[in-house]
Amino acid sequence: MHVGVLSSRRMASVALAFVLAFASPVVFAAELTISAAASLGDAFRDIGRAFESAHPDTKVQLNFAASGALLQQIAKGAPVDVFASADEETMDRAEQQKLIRHGSRVDFAANALVVVVPRDAASSPKTLADLAATSIRRIAIGLPASVPAGRYARFALDKAKLWPAIEAKVIGAQSVRQGLDYVARGEVDAGFVYATDAALEVDKVRVAFVVPTDPPVRYPIAIVEGSGNLAAARGFVAFVASLAGQDTMARYGFGKP
Protein backbone atom coordinates (compact mmCIF):
# COMPACT_ATOMS: atom_id res chain seq x y z
CA MET A 1 0.00 0.00 0.00
CA HIS A 2 1.20 3.49 -0.80
CA VAL A 3 1.51 5.87 2.14
CA GLY A 4 1.38 9.56 1.30
CA VAL A 5 3.99 11.83 2.84
CA LEU A 6 2.73 14.90 4.65
CA SER A 7 4.46 18.13 3.84
CA SER A 8 6.30 19.69 6.75
CA ARG A 9 3.93 22.67 6.77
CA ARG A 10 0.95 20.39 6.95
CA MET A 11 2.64 18.49 9.76
CA ALA A 12 3.27 21.70 11.64
CA SER A 13 -0.37 22.76 11.46
CA VAL A 14 -1.52 19.31 12.59
CA ALA A 15 0.86 19.53 15.55
CA LEU A 16 -0.41 23.01 16.38
CA ALA A 17 -4.02 21.81 16.32
CA PHE A 18 -3.12 19.08 18.82
CA VAL A 19 -1.38 21.51 21.15
CA LEU A 20 -4.36 23.87 21.07
CA ALA A 21 -6.83 21.04 21.65
CA PHE A 22 -5.07 19.97 24.82
CA ALA A 23 -4.07 23.37 26.13
CA SER A 24 -7.32 25.33 25.82
CA PRO A 25 -9.29 24.35 28.96
CA VAL A 26 -6.70 25.68 31.43
CA VAL A 27 -8.71 28.86 31.96
CA PHE A 28 -11.29 26.87 33.94
CA ALA A 29 -12.04 27.37 37.62
CA ALA A 30 -11.09 24.91 40.36
CA GLU A 31 -12.46 21.42 39.83
CA LEU A 32 -14.20 19.45 42.53
CA THR A 33 -14.44 15.69 41.89
CA ILE A 34 -17.30 13.88 43.59
CA SER A 35 -17.41 10.06 43.54
CA ALA A 36 -20.95 9.01 44.39
CA ALA A 37 -22.90 5.74 44.56
CA ALA A 38 -24.75 4.84 41.34
CA SER A 39 -28.12 5.24 43.08
CA LEU A 40 -27.33 8.90 43.81
CA GLY A 41 -26.96 9.70 40.09
CA ASP A 42 -30.00 11.84 39.39
CA ALA A 43 -30.17 13.58 42.78
CA PHE A 44 -26.47 14.47 42.73
CA ARG A 45 -26.59 15.81 39.17
CA ASP A 46 -29.20 18.30 40.46
CA ILE A 47 -27.21 19.10 43.58
CA GLY A 48 -24.04 19.53 41.53
CA ARG A 49 -25.74 22.07 39.25
CA ALA A 50 -27.17 23.97 42.22
CA PHE A 51 -23.75 23.99 43.91
CA GLU A 52 -22.12 25.30 40.73
CA SER A 53 -24.57 28.18 40.42
CA ALA A 54 -23.97 29.08 44.07
CA HIS A 55 -20.17 28.77 43.56
CA PRO A 56 -19.39 29.96 40.02
CA ASP A 57 -15.66 29.53 40.61
CA THR A 58 -16.00 25.77 41.15
CA LYS A 59 -16.60 23.13 38.48
CA VAL A 60 -18.19 19.94 39.83
CA GLN A 61 -17.11 16.64 38.25
CA LEU A 62 -19.42 13.75 39.06
CA ASN A 63 -18.26 10.15 38.96
CA PHE A 64 -20.93 7.49 39.49
CA ALA A 65 -20.38 3.75 39.96
CA ALA A 66 -20.97 1.00 42.49
CA SER A 67 -19.72 2.23 45.90
CA GLY A 68 -17.20 -0.63 46.10
CA ALA A 69 -15.75 0.25 42.71
CA LEU A 70 -15.42 3.91 43.76
CA LEU A 71 -13.65 2.86 46.95
CA GLN A 72 -11.11 0.88 44.91
CA GLN A 73 -10.46 3.88 42.65
CA ILE A 74 -9.81 6.07 45.69
CA ALA A 75 -7.63 3.38 47.33
CA LYS A 76 -5.52 3.29 44.13
CA GLY A 77 -5.01 7.04 44.26
CA ALA A 78 -7.76 8.52 42.07
CA PRO A 79 -7.88 12.32 42.58
CA VAL A 80 -11.25 12.48 44.32
CA ASP A 81 -12.36 15.23 46.72
CA VAL A 82 -15.64 13.90 48.11
CA PHE A 83 -16.93 10.33 48.43
CA ALA A 84 -20.58 9.38 49.00
CA SER A 85 -21.38 5.68 49.38
CA ALA A 86 -24.66 3.80 49.56
CA ASP A 87 -23.80 1.97 52.76
CA GLU A 88 -21.88 2.38 55.99
CA GLU A 89 -19.76 -0.71 55.35
CA THR A 90 -18.01 0.71 52.27
CA MET A 91 -17.34 3.97 54.13
CA ASP A 92 -16.09 1.97 57.14
CA ARG A 93 -13.56 0.32 54.84
CA ALA A 94 -12.51 3.71 53.51
CA GLU A 95 -12.06 4.91 57.07
CA GLN A 96 -10.04 1.82 58.08
CA GLN A 97 -7.74 2.39 55.11
CA LYS A 98 -7.40 6.05 56.17
CA LEU A 99 -8.75 7.22 52.81
CA ILE A 100 -11.13 9.82 54.21
CA ARG A 101 -10.50 12.84 56.41
CA HIS A 102 -11.02 12.20 60.09
CA GLY A 103 -14.25 13.72 61.38
CA SER A 104 -15.60 14.72 57.96
CA ARG A 105 -18.00 11.76 57.66
CA VAL A 106 -21.72 12.44 57.96
CA ASP A 107 -24.90 10.49 57.08
CA PHE A 108 -27.06 12.50 54.70
CA ALA A 109 -29.78 10.22 53.29
CA ALA A 110 -31.71 6.99 53.77
CA ASN A 111 -33.31 4.65 51.27
CA ALA A 112 -35.34 1.45 51.11
CA LEU A 113 -34.42 -1.79 49.37
CA VAL A 114 -37.23 -3.11 47.19
CA VAL A 115 -37.87 -6.01 44.85
CA VAL A 116 -39.07 -4.82 41.45
CA VAL A 117 -40.65 -6.77 38.61
CA PRO A 118 -41.25 -5.76 34.98
CA ARG A 119 -44.34 -3.57 34.64
CA ASP A 120 -46.14 -6.18 32.51
CA ALA A 121 -45.25 -9.19 34.69
CA ALA A 122 -48.20 -11.56 35.06
CA SER A 123 -47.73 -12.11 38.77
CA SER A 124 -45.56 -10.47 41.35
CA PRO A 125 -43.93 -11.96 44.45
CA LYS A 126 -45.17 -10.73 47.83
CA THR A 127 -42.32 -11.93 50.04
CA LEU A 128 -38.70 -13.03 49.76
CA ALA A 129 -39.85 -16.66 49.97
CA ASP A 130 -41.93 -16.17 46.80
CA LEU A 131 -38.70 -15.54 44.88
CA ALA A 132 -37.97 -19.27 45.19
CA ALA A 133 -41.05 -20.08 43.06
CA THR A 134 -40.43 -21.61 39.64
CA SER A 135 -42.22 -18.73 37.89
CA ILE A 136 -39.26 -16.53 38.85
CA ARG A 137 -36.40 -17.76 36.69
CA ARG A 138 -33.86 -14.95 36.94
CA ILE A 139 -33.20 -12.40 39.66
CA ALA A 140 -30.85 -9.43 39.24
CA ILE A 141 -28.76 -8.67 42.31
CA GLY A 142 -25.80 -6.29 42.44
CA LEU A 143 -22.51 -8.17 42.93
CA PRO A 144 -22.33 -8.25 46.76
CA ALA A 145 -18.55 -7.76 46.79
CA SER A 146 -18.76 -4.29 45.25
CA VAL A 147 -22.43 -3.20 45.08
CA PRO A 148 -24.08 -2.19 48.40
CA ALA A 149 -27.60 -2.94 47.13
CA GLY A 150 -26.40 -6.48 46.43
CA ARG A 151 -24.90 -6.74 49.89
CA TYR A 152 -28.13 -5.59 51.56
CA ALA A 153 -30.03 -8.12 49.44
CA ARG A 154 -27.60 -10.90 50.30
CA PHE A 155 -27.92 -10.11 54.04
CA ALA A 156 -31.71 -10.20 53.82
CA LEU A 157 -31.72 -13.47 51.86
CA ASP A 158 -29.17 -15.08 54.19
CA LYS A 159 -31.21 -14.05 57.20
CA ALA A 160 -34.33 -15.60 55.69
CA LYS A 161 -32.21 -18.69 54.84
CA LEU A 162 -33.30 -18.34 51.22
CA TRP A 163 -29.94 -17.78 49.49
CA PRO A 164 -29.34 -21.48 48.63
CA ALA A 165 -32.82 -21.69 47.11
CA ILE A 166 -32.34 -18.76 44.74
CA GLU A 167 -28.58 -18.76 44.19
CA ALA A 168 -28.84 -20.50 40.81
CA LYS A 169 -31.19 -17.78 39.52
CA VAL A 170 -28.97 -14.87 40.45
CA ILE A 171 -27.72 -12.57 37.69
CA GLY A 172 -24.89 -10.37 39.00
CA ALA A 173 -25.17 -6.68 38.17
CA GLN A 174 -22.16 -4.32 38.07
CA SER A 175 -24.19 -1.62 39.80
CA VAL A 176 -27.70 -1.24 41.16
CA ARG A 177 -28.64 0.66 37.98
CA GLN A 178 -27.57 -2.20 35.70
CA GLY A 179 -29.87 -4.48 37.72
CA LEU A 180 -32.69 -1.96 37.30
CA ASP A 181 -32.06 -1.90 33.53
CA TYR A 182 -32.25 -5.70 33.33
CA VAL A 183 -35.67 -5.62 35.03
CA ALA A 184 -36.88 -2.71 32.87
CA ARG A 185 -35.94 -4.67 29.71
CA GLY A 186 -37.69 -7.77 31.01
CA GLU A 187 -34.45 -9.78 30.83
CA VAL A 188 -34.93 -10.86 34.45
CA ASP A 189 -38.15 -11.61 36.34
CA ALA A 190 -37.21 -9.66 39.47
CA GLY A 191 -34.43 -7.50 40.84
CA PHE A 192 -33.22 -5.92 44.06
CA VAL A 193 -32.92 -2.14 43.74
CA TYR A 194 -33.58 0.94 45.85
CA ALA A 195 -37.01 2.54 46.09
CA THR A 196 -35.50 5.69 44.51
CA ASP A 197 -34.26 3.68 41.49
CA ALA A 198 -37.66 2.05 41.01
CA ALA A 199 -39.29 5.50 41.02
CA LEU A 200 -37.17 6.52 38.00
CA GLU A 201 -38.58 3.75 35.81
CA VAL A 202 -42.23 3.72 36.89
CA ASP A 203 -43.35 3.14 33.31
CA LYS A 204 -41.22 -0.01 33.02
CA VAL A 205 -41.02 -1.57 36.49
CA ARG A 206 -43.24 -1.85 39.54
CA VAL A 207 -42.37 -2.43 43.15
CA ALA A 208 -43.41 -5.90 44.31
CA PHE A 209 -42.53 -5.44 47.98
CA VAL A 210 -40.17 -3.65 50.31
CA VAL A 211 -37.32 -5.75 51.69
CA PRO A 212 -36.64 -5.35 55.42
CA THR A 213 -32.95 -4.48 55.76
CA ASP A 214 -30.61 -4.80 58.68
CA PRO A 215 -28.59 -2.56 58.81
CA PRO A 216 -30.90 0.12 57.37
CA VAL A 217 -29.93 1.65 54.02
CA ARG A 218 -28.05 4.84 54.87
CA TYR A 219 -25.75 7.06 52.79
CA PRO A 220 -22.61 8.55 54.36
CA ILE A 221 -20.54 11.28 52.70
CA ALA A 222 -16.96 12.29 53.57
CA ILE A 223 -14.02 14.35 52.35
CA VAL A 224 -11.27 12.25 50.77
CA GLU A 225 -7.83 12.44 52.40
CA GLY A 226 -5.46 14.45 50.23
CA SER A 227 -8.22 16.44 48.53
CA GLY A 228 -6.58 19.31 46.69
CA ASN A 229 -9.60 21.55 47.10
CA LEU A 230 -10.47 21.33 50.77
CA ALA A 231 -12.55 24.49 51.05
CA ALA A 232 -14.80 23.54 48.14
CA ALA A 233 -15.03 19.93 49.39
CA ARG A 234 -16.20 21.17 52.81
CA GLY A 235 -18.64 23.48 51.07
CA PHE A 236 -20.09 20.61 48.99
CA VAL A 237 -20.58 18.31 51.99
CA ALA A 238 -22.27 21.17 53.89
CA PHE A 239 -24.42 21.90 50.81
CA VAL A 240 -25.66 18.30 50.65
CA ALA A 241 -26.59 18.44 54.35
CA SER A 242 -28.20 21.88 54.01
CA LEU A 243 -31.95 22.48 53.64
CA ALA A 244 -31.62 22.99 49.88
CA GLY A 245 -29.61 19.78 49.50
CA GLN A 246 -31.99 17.79 51.67
CA ASP A 247 -34.94 19.15 49.67
CA THR A 248 -33.39 17.81 46.48
CA MET A 249 -32.74 14.42 48.07
CA ALA A 250 -36.35 14.29 49.27
CA ARG A 251 -37.61 15.18 45.79
CA TYR A 252 -35.89 12.04 44.44
CA GLY A 253 -37.46 9.95 47.21
CA PHE A 254 -34.55 9.68 49.65
CA GLY A 255 -35.40 9.71 53.35
CA LYS A 256 -33.72 11.49 56.24
CA PRO A 257 -30.75 9.56 57.68
Partner: protein, 224 residues
Protein backbone atom coordinates in the same frame (compact mmCIF):
# COMPACT_ATOMS: atom_id res chain seq x y z
CA UNK B 1 -11.83 -25.95 41.53
CA UNK B 2 -10.19 -22.52 41.83
CA UNK B 3 -12.34 -19.67 40.49
CA UNK B 4 -9.47 -18.61 38.21
CA UNK B 5 -9.32 -22.00 36.51
CA UNK B 6 -13.09 -22.09 36.11
CA UNK B 7 -12.92 -18.68 34.44
CA UNK B 8 -10.06 -19.84 32.19
CA UNK B 9 -11.96 -22.97 31.18
CA UNK B 10 -15.03 -20.90 30.35
CA UNK B 11 -12.98 -18.33 28.40
CA UNK B 12 -11.37 -21.09 26.31
CA UNK B 13 -14.73 -22.75 25.69
CA UNK B 14 -16.34 -19.47 24.60
CA UNK B 15 -13.38 -18.48 22.41
CA UNK B 16 -13.15 -21.92 20.75
CA UNK B 17 -16.85 -21.98 19.90
CA UNK B 18 -16.77 -18.40 18.63
CA UNK B 19 -13.70 -19.16 16.48
CA UNK B 20 -15.27 -22.31 15.07
CA UNK B 21 -18.39 -20.41 14.06
CA UNK B 22 -16.30 -17.59 12.58
CA UNK B 23 -14.12 -20.03 10.65
CA UNK B 24 -17.06 -21.58 8.83
CA UNK B 25 -18.93 -18.31 8.28
CA UNK B 26 -15.82 -16.23 7.60
CA UNK B 27 -14.44 -18.62 4.96
CA UNK B 28 -17.81 -18.78 3.20
CA UNK B 29 -18.32 -15.01 3.20
CA UNK B 30 -14.64 -14.30 2.43
CA UNK B 31 -14.83 -16.66 -0.57
CA UNK B 32 -18.02 -15.06 -1.84
CA UNK B 33 -16.46 -11.59 -1.56
CA UNK B 34 -13.28 -12.71 -3.33
CA UNK B 35 -14.84 -14.64 -6.19
CA UNK B 36 -18.24 -13.16 -6.97
CA UNK B 37 -19.16 -9.72 -8.24
CA UNK B 38 -22.48 -8.47 -6.98
CA UNK B 39 -23.96 -5.03 -6.37
CA UNK B 40 -23.01 -3.57 -3.01
CA UNK B 41 -20.07 -5.94 -2.57
CA UNK B 42 -17.77 -3.32 -1.05
CA UNK B 43 -20.67 -2.09 1.09
CA UNK B 44 -21.11 -5.61 2.51
CA UNK B 45 -17.36 -5.76 3.09
CA UNK B 46 -17.45 -2.50 5.07
CA UNK B 47 -20.43 -3.55 7.16
CA UNK B 48 -18.75 -6.85 8.00
CA UNK B 49 -15.74 -4.88 9.20
CA UNK B 50 -17.88 -2.83 11.62
CA UNK B 51 -17.45 -5.04 14.71
CA UNK B 52 -13.73 -4.25 14.55
CA UNK B 53 -14.20 -0.49 14.80
CA UNK B 54 -17.46 -0.10 16.74
CA UNK B 55 -17.05 0.32 20.50
CA UNK B 56 -17.87 -2.98 22.24
CA UNK B 57 -20.52 -1.18 24.28
CA UNK B 58 -22.40 -0.38 21.06
CA UNK B 59 -22.31 -4.06 20.11
CA UNK B 60 -23.42 -4.98 23.63
CA UNK B 61 -26.35 -2.63 23.33
CA UNK B 62 -27.33 -4.02 19.91
CA UNK B 63 -27.21 -7.52 21.34
CA UNK B 64 -29.33 -6.51 24.33
CA UNK B 65 -31.89 -4.91 22.05
CA UNK B 66 -31.92 -7.56 19.30
CA UNK B 67 -31.45 -10.87 21.12
CA UNK B 68 -32.98 -9.78 24.45
CA UNK B 69 -36.27 -11.27 25.54
CA UNK B 70 -38.14 -8.32 24.05
CA UNK B 71 -35.95 -8.00 20.97
CA UNK B 72 -37.36 -9.20 17.64
CA UNK B 73 -34.86 -12.03 17.34
CA UNK B 74 -34.64 -12.86 21.03
CA UNK B 75 -38.42 -12.86 21.45
CA UNK B 76 -38.79 -15.19 18.48
CA UNK B 77 -36.07 -17.54 19.74
CA UNK B 78 -37.72 -17.76 23.14
CA UNK B 79 -41.25 -18.30 21.81
CA UNK B 80 -40.20 -20.84 19.20
CA UNK B 81 -37.38 -22.76 20.84
CA UNK B 82 -37.40 -21.60 24.46
CA UNK B 83 -33.86 -20.29 23.98
CA UNK B 84 -32.66 -17.27 25.93
CA UNK B 85 -29.22 -15.99 24.93
CA UNK B 86 -28.73 -13.13 27.39
CA UNK B 87 -27.03 -14.33 30.60
CA UNK B 88 -25.91 -17.64 29.06
CA UNK B 89 -22.52 -18.82 27.83
CA UNK B 90 -24.04 -19.14 24.38
CA UNK B 91 -24.73 -15.42 24.57
CA UNK B 92 -21.07 -14.85 25.40
CA UNK B 93 -20.16 -16.98 22.35
CA UNK B 94 -22.39 -14.82 20.17
CA UNK B 95 -20.73 -11.62 21.43
CA UNK B 96 -17.23 -13.06 20.93
CA UNK B 97 -18.10 -14.48 17.49
CA UNK B 98 -19.33 -11.08 16.30
CA UNK B 99 -16.30 -9.11 17.46
CA UNK B 100 -13.86 -11.68 16.07
CA UNK B 101 -15.62 -12.28 12.73
CA UNK B 102 -13.81 -9.57 10.69
CA UNK B 103 -10.42 -11.16 11.45
CA UNK B 104 -11.36 -14.43 9.72
CA UNK B 105 -13.47 -12.87 6.99
CA UNK B 106 -10.88 -10.26 5.97
CA UNK B 107 -7.93 -12.62 5.89
CA UNK B 108 -9.96 -15.28 4.11
CA UNK B 109 -10.94 -12.80 1.40
CA UNK B 110 -7.34 -11.68 0.96
CA UNK B 111 -6.11 -15.28 0.90
CA UNK B 112 -8.68 -16.35 -1.72
CA UNK B 113 -7.89 -13.32 -3.87
CA UNK B 114 -4.25 -14.39 -3.87
CA UNK B 115 -5.07 -17.83 -5.24
CA UNK B 116 -4.39 -17.90 -8.99
CA UNK B 117 -7.67 -18.55 -10.81
CA UNK B 118 -5.75 -20.53 -13.45
CA UNK B 119 -5.21 -23.37 -10.97
CA UNK B 120 -8.95 -23.57 -10.39
CA UNK B 121 -9.64 -23.46 -14.13
CA UNK B 122 -7.12 -26.20 -14.72
CA UNK B 123 -8.81 -28.36 -12.11
CA UNK B 124 -12.21 -27.75 -13.73
CA UNK B 125 -10.82 -28.71 -17.14
CA UNK B 126 -9.43 -31.88 -15.62
CA UNK B 127 -12.96 -32.78 -14.52
CA UNK B 128 -13.31 -31.70 -10.90
CA UNK B 129 -16.68 -30.39 -9.68
CA UNK B 130 -17.08 -26.97 -8.07
CA UNK B 131 -17.03 -28.33 -4.50
CA UNK B 132 -14.00 -30.51 -5.24
CA UNK B 133 -12.15 -27.56 -6.76
CA UNK B 134 -12.85 -25.53 -3.65
CA UNK B 135 -11.78 -28.19 -1.15
CA UNK B 136 -8.88 -29.71 -3.08
CA UNK B 137 -7.41 -26.67 -4.85
CA UNK B 138 -8.58 -23.29 -3.56
CA UNK B 139 -8.74 -23.99 0.17
CA UNK B 140 -5.35 -25.76 0.38
CA UNK B 141 -3.77 -22.79 -1.42
CA UNK B 142 -5.44 -20.23 0.87
CA UNK B 143 -5.34 -22.02 4.20
CA UNK B 144 -2.24 -20.35 5.59
CA UNK B 145 -3.73 -16.88 5.36
CA UNK B 146 -7.01 -18.13 6.77
CA UNK B 147 -5.19 -19.81 9.65
CA UNK B 148 -3.39 -16.59 10.56
CA UNK B 149 -6.71 -14.73 10.64
CA UNK B 150 -8.32 -17.51 12.64
CA UNK B 151 -5.65 -17.35 15.33
CA UNK B 152 -6.11 -13.59 15.59
CA UNK B 153 -9.85 -14.14 15.85
CA UNK B 154 -9.28 -16.64 18.66
CA UNK B 155 -7.10 -14.16 20.53
CA UNK B 156 -9.70 -11.41 20.07
CA UNK B 157 -12.51 -13.71 21.21
CA UNK B 158 -10.49 -14.68 24.28
CA UNK B 159 -10.07 -11.02 25.21
CA UNK B 160 -13.68 -9.97 24.56
CA UNK B 161 -14.95 -7.88 27.44
CA UNK B 162 -17.22 -4.92 26.73
CA UNK B 163 -20.15 -6.49 24.92
CA UNK B 164 -19.97 -9.53 27.19
CA UNK B 165 -20.10 -7.35 30.30
CA UNK B 166 -23.36 -5.85 29.11
CA UNK B 167 -25.16 -9.11 28.36
CA UNK B 168 -23.48 -11.76 30.50
CA UNK B 169 -24.51 -11.09 34.11
CA UNK B 170 -21.23 -12.30 35.62
CA UNK B 171 -22.33 -15.81 36.59
CA UNK B 172 -19.30 -17.90 37.72
CA UNK B 173 -18.87 -20.96 35.50
CA UNK B 174 -21.49 -19.73 33.02
CA UNK B 175 -20.72 -16.21 31.88
CA UNK B 176 -17.89 -14.99 34.10
CA UNK B 177 -15.01 -15.22 31.61
CA UNK B 178 -11.42 -14.35 32.55
CA UNK B 179 -11.74 -10.72 31.49
CA UNK B 180 -15.01 -10.28 33.43
CA UNK B 181 -13.54 -12.05 36.47
CA UNK B 182 -10.58 -9.64 36.44
CA UNK B 183 -12.96 -6.67 36.31
CA UNK B 184 -15.11 -8.02 39.17
CA UNK B 185 -12.08 -8.77 41.34
CA UNK B 186 -10.64 -5.27 40.84
CA UNK B 187 -14.03 -3.62 41.51
CA UNK B 188 -14.30 -5.60 44.74
CA UNK B 189 -10.75 -4.84 45.83
CA UNK B 190 -9.74 -8.52 45.71
CA UNK B 191 -6.24 -7.74 44.53
CA UNK B 192 -4.83 -11.21 45.21
CA UNK B 193 -7.46 -12.83 43.02
CA UNK B 194 -6.95 -10.10 40.41
CA UNK B 195 -3.18 -10.74 40.41
CA UNK B 196 -3.72 -14.47 39.86
CA UNK B 197 -6.23 -13.81 37.11
CA UNK B 198 -4.10 -11.33 35.17
CA UNK B 199 -1.05 -13.61 35.35
CA UNK B 200 -3.14 -16.51 34.09
CA UNK B 201 -4.61 -14.35 31.32
CA UNK B 202 -1.20 -13.06 30.27
CA UNK B 203 0.27 -16.58 30.24
CA UNK B 204 -2.64 -17.82 28.14
CA UNK B 205 -2.26 -15.00 25.62
CA UNK B 206 1.50 -15.56 25.33
CA UNK B 207 0.84 -19.26 24.72
CA UNK B 208 -1.68 -18.40 22.00
CA UNK B 209 0.75 -15.99 20.32
CA UNK B 210 3.61 -18.51 20.45
CA UNK B 211 1.32 -21.11 18.94
CA UNK B 212 0.28 -18.64 16.28
CA UNK B 213 3.93 -17.99 15.43
CA UNK B 214 4.60 -21.73 15.22
CA UNK B 215 1.58 -22.51 13.05
CA UNK B 216 1.75 -19.55 10.73
CA UNK B 217 5.34 -18.44 10.04
CA UNK B 218 5.59 -14.95 8.64
CA UNK B 219 5.02 -15.51 4.98
CA UNK B 220 2.85 -13.73 2.49
CA UNK B 221 -0.71 -14.99 3.00
CA UNK B 222 -1.75 -17.52 0.41
CA UNK B 223 1.75 -18.15 -0.98
CA UNK B 224 3.94 -21.15 -0.31
Amino acid sequence: MEPAWIALGLSLKVALWATAIDLVAGVAVGFALARYRFPGREMVDSILLLPMVLPPTVLGYYLLVVVGRRGWLGGWLERTFGIQLIFTWQGAVLAAAIVAFPFVCKSARAAFENVDVQFEQAARVLGLGAAAVFFRVTLPLAWRGILAGTLLAFARALGEFGATLMIAGSIPGKTQTLSIAVYDAVQAGQDELANGLVLLTSATCIAVLLLAGRLAPSRVPGRW
